[in-house]
């Protein structure tokens, strides 16, 4: 095969058996790769009602056909499993270098089932597969684990591992690759920990074959050149990273502040890209073969308690560990970010869980003695202390390790948790960005901007600037962005490059250039129509998985704060999320019935009948 390696690796951790398996070319094309292949295996082979932390959960690492090719940003992988935080699907995405080296071992996917009797790690060295003891690594943090594994395998090996948080089944545990890159959301690290799987180490030199290598390289160079021109014209991602975003969302009145009690933060000037560049930036850091370089190599060396080094913070971190918690000390936020990377936790869920705690403590809804002392918005030192306690499930950290939904339920104030499907909101208050509200309510994984980020259009003007406060046209927009992101996640590309450079520059988000890249690489003769239909197929199979797991249309909703409490200030003052104006039209466009279930006709149109009804 071209693009795809055409082989998957199955690892049964219970009996420590490993099996190589060829991939059927027909299914390969219809489900694209990456996220698409993963849901097909998951749907067909796993009972969707399993306990996510039981040995019966399947954990899938999935590269795409463009991963490891010359395609700019062709460097991504997905972690797909049933989430212990949400009970829904996980589609966590990461870049860096690990995904490319994983692809170069000659396998498109690793599928883990069962549970190892003792901590182990998987070492895939070209096509040699070994299960090795990780007893000596258990308890070690991410950087320590990574360094030790590289030393005992290959100096050029790449590592994806869990830290103490994953080992302790913390529900916001992440899988960290290359020390600073995260498949973060949905508690995928806890699934890995529940299997006693400490790490996956890869090394390989088997570049994926290409159908038209010359054509592929030519198009890749053309796209990279355009990115370079874009950077000269003012694109901010290289100069500031995603840290330029707080000023933008603050200006629109949608920067999460004090647990989404407001959308503008007084301290925004202290936590923006300019401040990060002036104070802590060493240099931009790209993922492998990325022309954008949005990553931040940073160091805090004030002589303060916040000294450290690593990568980040990203926008979502500046929101969740910053403005949502009322914290404007950039050094403290950066340190908190390093701690999350070292211990292996999702900064969004971790930060928003502390933000919920801060609100509840201020309102007297959690006894001070439970937390240890009163907790107020702005308390950076307590944030850092609690993050460490969460990773080790110590004291009150044991409660926080379960996320904000369970925290708020425990103290009988469920309305305080700002979640959808129990997943904490990312950095866009949907009362001021209506399309994001519809996205959060309907995405397979819960409230995630990475499921189809209409904020590109509502906030950033990409591909076109649209009114974030309007509901008209948003159902169609969310559907198109959703399918676009499925195709990006399945092919192995990065969304930052894709939306601007490989989709047509209008709101139809037609994948003209992505189709070209796919055909030059795989030779599979996609059309833009068949590519989007494949994305639609994948998304609807995910929806069927959710329904099998027990979700209904009633779960396509948002917290009362979003539906009933208008923003009290800023440009979106007076707005709630008008979900009722958008959801029925969204269901109709998707071909779902009034309960949000894909109709028989829809499933037939997508050739899913056999999979779903067998």
């Amino acid at each position: 095969m071209n693009g795809w390696q055409g082989k998957i690796l199955r690892i049964n951790l219970t009996d420590q058996s490993v099996k190589q398996e060829d991939v059927d070319p027909g299914f390969a094309k219809d489900f694209l790769g990456g996220r698409g292949w993963a849901i097909k295996y998951l749907y067909e082979e796993m009972d969707p009602t399993v306990d996510p932390l039981s040995p019966d959960n399947m954990l899938i690492f999935a590269t795409g056909p463009l991963t490891g090719t010359p395609a700019p940003t062709g460097n991504r992988y997905m972690v797909v499993t049933k989430s212990p935080l949400t009970g829904s699907l996980s589609n966590s995405n990461s870049g860096g270098e690990f995904p490319t080296w994983m692809k170069r071992t000659g396998f498109d996917l690793f599928i883990f089932t069962g549970k190892a009797p003792q901590p182990i790690y998987l070492w895939v060295n070209e096509n040699q597969v070994e299960i090795r003891s990780a007893v000596h690594l258990w308890g070690k943090n991410v950087p320590q684990t990574t360094d030790l594994l590289v030393a005992e395998t290959n100096p050029d090996a790449k590592v994806a591992c869990i830290g103490p948080a994953g080992e302790n089944l913390v529900l916001m545990a992440a899988i960290i690759n290359d020390k600073h890159r995260a498949a973060a959301r949905s508690g995928v690290g806890a699934v890995m920990g529940s299997k006693n799987l400490k790490a996956v180490v890869v090394y390989g030199t088997k570049q994926p074959a290409m159908y038209d290598e010359k054509g592929m390289k030519k198009l890749s160079v053309e796209i990279s050149k355009e990115v370079g021109e874009g950077i000269k014209a003012g694109s901010s991602l290289r100069e500031f990273g995603t840290a330029y975003v707080p000023q933008v969302t603050n200006e629109l009145g949608i920067l999460p502040t004090h647990n989404f009690q407001s959308g503008q933060f007084e301290g925004v000037d202290s936590i923006d890209g300019v401040a990060l560049k002036e104070k802590y930036l060493i240099r931009p850091k790209p993922c492998y073969r990325c022309p954008i370089a949005c990553g931040r190599l940073t160091k805090v060396a004030d002589g303060s308690p916040y000294d450290g080094e690593g990568e980040g913070p990203e926008y979502e971190t500046l929101s969740a560990l910053g403005s949502a918690c009322g914290i404007d000390n950039l050094g403290a936020i950066t340190k908190a970010n390093y701690i999350c990377n070292e211990l292996g936790m999702d900064t969004i869920t971790a930060g928003m869980t502390v933000a919920a705690t801060m609100e509840m403590s201020e309102r007297g809804l959690i006894p001070d003695s439970d937390i240890g002392k009163p907790l107020r918005f702005g308390d950076a030192d307590m944030l850092i202390e609690l993050l460490e306690k969460m990773a080790y499930r110590q004291g009150f950290g044991n409660t926080l390790a379960e996320g904000s939904f369970r925290l708020a339920a425990k103290y009988e104030h469920p309305e305080i948790a700002v979640t959808a499907r129990k997943l904490e909101f990312p950095g866009y208050d949907p009362r001021g960005a209506q399309g994001m509200g519809l996205l959060y309510a309907t995405a397979s994984v819960g409230a995630s901007h990475m499921a189809g980020d209409v904020a590109y259009a509502e906030v950033f003007g990409v591909p076109e600037n649209i009114d974030p406060l309007a509901t008209e046209g948003k159902p169609a927009l969310v559907k198109r962005f959703g399918n676009a992101f499925v195709s990006i996640d399945s092919t192995g590309m990065c969304v930052f490059l894709s939306v601007r450079y490989i989709f047509d520059p209008d709101l139809n988000l037609w994948p003209t250039r992505l189709t070209e890249l796919m055909n030059l690489t795989t030779g599979a003769e996609y059309t833009p129509e068949s590519l989007i239909r494949a994305a639609d197929r994948i998304f609807n199979l995910e929806r069927m998985f959710l329904i099998g797991a027990g979700f209904t249309g009633k779960d396509d909703t948002l917290p009362p704060r979003m539906l009933l409490e208008p923003l009290s200030s800023g440009p979106a003052k007076g707005y709630v999320v008008h979900l009722d104006k958008m959801l029925p039209e969204f269901y109709a466009l998707q071909g779902w019935d009034e309960n949000g279930v894909p109709t028989k006709e829809k499933l037939e149109e997508l050739n899913l009948s056999e999979i779903v009804y067998s």
């Binding site: 995603t242 904020a455 950033f460 003007g461 990409v462 939306v499 979106a572």
Partner: protein, 79 residues
Amino acid sequence: MQISVKLLATYRKKLPEGTSGSTCLLEVPTHFVVRQIVEKFNLSYDESNVVLLNGRVAEPEQTLQTDDIVCIFPAYAGG
């Protein structure tokens, strides 16, 4: 009349020298419109930029009023 202009991200460097932060104050004639502010900073009013008036999507011919805030940033994503 006096208005504020906020230039964000890479456009911050276009602010007058000595400006602290992302905002500068500007004296403009009455009946000035949003488009004229964008042009004043040598930027184009097209899909390469996002232009907001008081945090809302702006129309190019909207008339400005005292204390209005015009915000401009390049249309690149994301976060």
